[in-house]
């Protein structure tokens, strides 16, 4: 489902954030990327749909080339790769419903959408996605009047509205109270199981990673330091991922 080969990302001016990553993710996996902050998890995820431009390497997602894709091809690849952000990244002044509807932007005709006209099917789908995260009753509310946990659920609904093959989530619970972590992660697991969607979720919390992942990829200084099932994660490996012996 996701094929990453030799990925290298250098952020200006000269920070090597991702330093030669190879990764194959199969359909239906729930991959948790584990690592300290600054290990390159965020940059790696942002490179997968080219929100950050890779310096070298190739990326294919759901059979489509992401690297080397032209503008139109990139948009087609992007609409099947939904992203959930640490800071939710909702449009604050827009309604909840409009935020979810934004997930359909890659599918609808551009000009009518800019004028605020969306096909009824897309509107219905957006409401359905909102219902799946249990927030149908808040559809008319302005996004910034919701709590953090609710906002992240709206962001998940927006991701679902993209009808994606893959969902990437960058530290989706890091900006929330600890007790909300499991509610968000539970929704992600349900999506993974019920819709057979492939998930790649970055986490810095070990317990959460162990509880939800079918596979754990440990990042350390821009490289993959561990790749295996949660059961194979020994204390020595954990120490290697989190160790600060040679931290930058």
């Amino acid at each position: 489902m996701i094929e990453v080969r030799g990925l290298r990302v250098v952020l200006p001016p000269d920070t090597v954030a991702v330093d030669g990553v190879d990764l194959l993710v199969n359909a239906g996996e729930f991959v948790v990327i584990l690592g300290r902050s600054g290990a390159g998890k965020t940059t790696f995820l942002r490179a997968l749909n080219r929100l950050v431009e890779p310096t070298a390497g190739t990326i294919r997602v759901a059979g489509r080339a992401v690297t080397g894709a032209g503008r139109g091809e990139l948009r087609e690849a992007r609409r099947r790769i939904a992203v959930i952000f640490q800071q939710f990244n909702l449009v604050r002044r827009a309604s909840v419903q409009e935020n979810v509807l934004a997930g359909r932007l890659g599918y609808v005709r551009a000009l009518p959408s800019v004028l605020g006209r969306f096909p009824p099917d897309d509107r219905a789908l957006a409401l359905e996605c909102l219902a799946q995260v249990g927030l149908a009753h808040l559809a008319e509310r302005r996004a910034d009047t919701l709590s953090g946990g609710e906002q992240q659920r709206v962001a998940i609904a927006r991701a679902l509205a993209q009808s994606p093959d893959v969902i990437l989530a960058d530290e989706p619970t890091a900006s929330l109270d600890p007790q909300l972590t499991s509610s968000i992660m539970d929704i992600l697991r349900r999506i993974n199981v019920e819709r057979r969607l492939t998930l790649v979720v970055s986490q810095h919390q070990l317990e959460t990673a162990l509880a939800y992942a079918t596979r754990i990829v440990g990042f350390r200084r821009g490289r993959v330091g561990f790749d295996g099932p949660p059961s194979a994660l020994s204390p020595a490996v954990i120490a290697a991922i989190y160790g600060d012996g040679d931290a930058a």
Partner: protein
């Protein structure tokens, strides 16, 4: 370093005072004439009230129409002059051109347009449009540069086109600011439009200048009072609207 700057500052001000012939004694000698002028404006002449009101209406129309047209024309210019959304080959020329045209005041534009299309309120409207478009474009551009990148990332990630990203990621963040800038410009344009009549570009300024030239001070004071009332009313309404936006 700071002392040196302070010293240079004082030197510059001192030289400017000398060069402009700024002289407190001369000002003091002038006070009786100011008082005499004020004395002769009393009482205001009510007979010119209708023409003053008509002039005020024209001035408000010039400012309203000019600001509205400029608010729309400035939109594309604002986007191309924002570093974070415009491609570099567009951004740099746009900034330069805007800065060039913005350094010309409304009154100067009015002189140009009166020469081009003749006397009346129309060249006044054109002058307001010319100045306000560039000044709003700069304010728009700066508002766009101040947006949060997060929602833009999120909209980009949905596979949206460039236009959709602007509409759904950028515009909702800046629209209230844009409206607030437009209202602020309307307030300053009302003031700017009061003097447009001095150069033949219509509005209440024409009456003020005429009565002053005729040395009809009571009539001129009526016109001035109407001007003050007009500016205060527009300011009040506009600032109340602005408060509700942000």
């Amino acid at each position: 370093m700071r002392r040196a700057l302070l010293f240079v500052g004082f030197l510059a001000l001192g030289w400017a005072a000398w060069d402009t012939g700024a002289d407190p004694v001369r000002l003091a000698r002038g006070v009786p004439f100011i008082l005499d002028f004020l004395w002769r404006t009393i009482p205001p002449d009510p007979r010119v009230l209708p023409s003053a009101l008509a002039g005020a209406l024209t001035t408000v129309e010039i400012a309203l129409l000019g600001t509205a047209v400029a608010a729309v024309l400035a939109l594309p210019l604002g986007f191309v002059s924002a570093r974070n959304v415009a491609p570099a080959p567009l951004f740099y020329p746009a900034r330069t051109v805007l800065n060039f045209f913005r350094s010309v005041d409304t009154l100067v534009y009015a002189l140009v347009f009166v020469a081009a299309v003749g006397l009346g309120p129309f060249p006044g409207v054109l002058a307001v449009v010319a100045y306000t478009t560039t000044s709003l474009a700069k304010l728009y551009g700066e508002a766009i540069e101040g947006i949060e990148p997060g929602p833009v990332d999120a909209i980009t990630a949905t596979g949206a086109t460039r236009l959709q990203i602007l509409r759904f990621g950028v515009l909702p963040q800046v629209l209230p600011l844009f409206l607030s800038y437009v209202l602020y410009r309307l307030e300053t344009n009302i003031r700017a439009a009061t003097v447009l009549g001095f150069v033949g570009a219509g509005g209440i300024g024409f009456y003020l200048q005429t009565y002053l030239r005729m040395i009809d001070y009571p009539a001129a004071s009526t016109v001035l009072l109407v001007t003050v009332a007009m500016v205060m009313i527009v300011d009040g309404v506009s600032s109340r609207l602005r408060d509700r936006l942000v």
